[in-house]
Symmetry: C2
Subunit: 409 residues, 2 copies
């Protein structure tokens, strides 16, 4: 059960002119479940992307990155679940390229105009024949209104589909942004999360798309963790068809750029938070906010030390205000000159520790009350500067162990 | 249930001349359990130690480090469980010093000759009155043959006491080393583990003790992890009474020094491995060996990425050869120029992946067979240099979550 998550309704997911989505049950891993998505893009669509920093990045990531650099004009994205095509060596690359060739043949475009994405089990060969056989069904079902079906098609251990939409005005005209994401475990993105696809009808040059994407990712997908495991297949793609009536966004100092960037960030935060709300076994949604640091980097270090600590995460699961574990995590976060005598710790509005020690007025009952909530904010004030960072995470429950012990069965 | 752990019998724990141990039930946290240890040292005993690098280090760690630097001649170590006296600010320091004063008064020595140690819940005030009231019982029960009782007295979530002994010959005379350790969770030592105390009747200068201790720690306590959480209270102390008949060890190039150092390392490895065998909820003992690296630092990075991954650890718990998770961990370990196309992966003697991809001859059944064992070696060959590193860890089970969700109840 995801934490305080509302399923998006199909009519609140605005279609993006020039973007069509079709799905199929190709039997990649198991028969009878939708596991293939084909996303086609109108001619002239610009595509920007960020990919995993994992050195063992998957074959489709290598191919997608290569095709993106060809500037051949991306016209299709193809996504399979059930198999990550990672740790598959040369054969994995052949299979990922073959996937592109099959899509290209079907659509009458060049293989370099196709970007492939995979998610699922690592180190097993991709059943590329079954994948290819499913593509005609994808094309047959392709529609602009298919975002929710697309979000369902890319799920693995996800219990809910993740999709979000925004409409903003630029130059008096409506611009739409709609995106989907998947991911529940192996979530500690180091550029982007497992898989996310955002499309817009805005019209802006590729360089500004890159800028906006990096800005949004730093504040969303790169600020979440379920288990500290960075996936081999992370990718976030942004496609801009330019088919809205809004004027072209020309430079980064324009009002239109800021409106677009902020809408993209807002959308990305909603999708990234949805991944945490649906984190494997999650029963709590935790915001870790670290303030008063010398640099945002050190604030992130402290926030992630807390967010990754299995001891902190099990205490949240148990609703046990065993908050000394948070101090311990702050202490080993790697801020070598940290003066712990200046550190304050809050749980929501409750001051738990001041000047590095338990606050005299702190009552166990107050901590207990906050810990019972399904949404909790841990606020750490380092009192040594003006920088801050926020990270979102979930608790570590029995269900997490069950899901990951039984993932392949 | 610890993994393949044999309880040490009292008669195999050789007493160390000049070292006496007494225990008491002081009711630090709960009544009726032994929770206080007093270890007294003969005059002239040299003491060396390594302490946690956690910035939130506990008050007793600060006081012990300070007293050790006084060179006043340490005569007593006092250890309580049930309360870590960490995250307790100024009051914590007052309580740790008060503990030393009470011991000093009882023994007729100076407070600076006492080193205090605490382990247990963080951020709760130390009940120093109850601790002081328990000290006379410690003194009354103090004997040289009390090592096993001492090992029991310092347990927290440990399910078994951890103690080990070695006897070696130096200059034709027997030298004894005996040590105890505790720890089961919050184990990712960054200098030493939770608490370990080793005594010897060897005669060697403090500088050589420091050298031998650092050598041993790098190969034992600094090569283990249960949950990646570095404790606020880690400390490893080595006391040398010099009361054996063996000649003094004068320099680091002598045969006697190497014999002593290797015996100390061997002892430390046994104690460190005992902590992993008794890791919270452990059902498997995992050795992660990374070879062929450019530096031992990068080998450690890769080994710890594998050993910390919740996904890898839950796969071990399930005996599921979902070994792609190991490749993913290698990929995000932070070796930025790693060529994954050269990486080989073995599970015991089974070649799982070669040149970065699944080996054609690898059969799931072979992986399954190894994964069912209670002791497993993961061997990663980076094929880029001649360095190596070994790390020991355990799996992540339901029991881990249960223990840490219910730690304070």
């Amino acid at each position: 059960m995801p934490v305080n998550f509302s399923l998006p309704s199909a009519d609140r997911l605005f279609p993006v002119s020039g973007v069509s989505l079709g799905v199929a049950a190709a039997g990649i891993r198991k028969p009878g479940r939708t596991d293939l998505l084909l996303m086609t893009l109108a001619e002239g669509t610009q595509v920007a992307g960020v990919f995993t920093q994992n050195r063992f990045c998957a074959a489709p990531v290598l191919v997608a990155r290569q095709h993106l650099s060809h500037h051949a004009g991306v016209r299709a994205l193809v996504v399979n679940t059930g198999n990550a095509n990672a740790g598959t060596g040369e054969r994995g690359l052949v299979d990922a390229r073959r996937t592109c060739t099959e899509v290209a043949r079907l659509l009458g475009i060049a293989p370099e105009q196709v970007l492939p994405f995979s998610t699922g089990v690592i180190m097993e060969p991709l059943p590329v024949e079954r994948l290819a056989a499913g593509l005609p069904d994808c094309l047959a079902s392709s529609r602009e209104h298919n975002w929710l079906a697309a979000a369902r098609a890319i799920m693995t251990t996800d219990t809910v589909p993740k999709a979000a939409s925004r409409q903003v005005e630029i130059g008096g005209e409506t611009v739409t942004l709609t995106g989907i994401a998947k991911g529940s475990g192996m979530i500690h993105p180091d550029m982007a999360t497992m898989l996310a696809f955002v499309a817009t009808d805005a019209n802006l040059p590729r360089a500004l798309m890159d800028d906006a994407l990096r800005y949004a990712v730093a504040r969303s997908f790169n600020a979440i963790t379920v288990d500290g495991d960075t996936s081999t297949n992370d990718a976030l793609m942004l496609a801009a068809t330019g088919l809205s009536r809004a004027p072209e966004i020309i430079d980064a100092s324009s009002a239109g750029y800021r409106v677009f960037r902020d809408a993209l960030t807002d959308l990305a935060v909603e999708l990234a938070q949805a991944i945490i709300r649906d984190g494997e076994g999650a029963t709590k949604f935790i915001t870790v906010r670290v303030e008063g640091g010398n640099t945002s980097v050190e604030c992130r270090k402290v926030a992630y030390a807390i967010a990754h600590s299995p001891l902190v995460k099990t205490a949240f699961f148990a609703s046990d205000p065993n908050l000394g574990r948070i101090l311990a995590a702050i202490g080993y976060a790697g801020v070598s000159d940290l003066d712990v005598g200046r550190v304050d710790l809050y749980l929501d509005d409750v001051l738990v520790a001041q000047h590095g020690g338990r606050h005299p007025a702190y009552q166990e009952a107050d901590g207990q009350r906050i810990m019972r909530q399904s949404e909790i904010t841990v606020r750490v004030v380092l009192n040594r500067g003006g920088e801050q960072a926020t990270v979102w995470t979930c608790d570590l429950s029995h269900e997490y162990v069950t899901i990951n012990a039984e993932y392949r069965t």
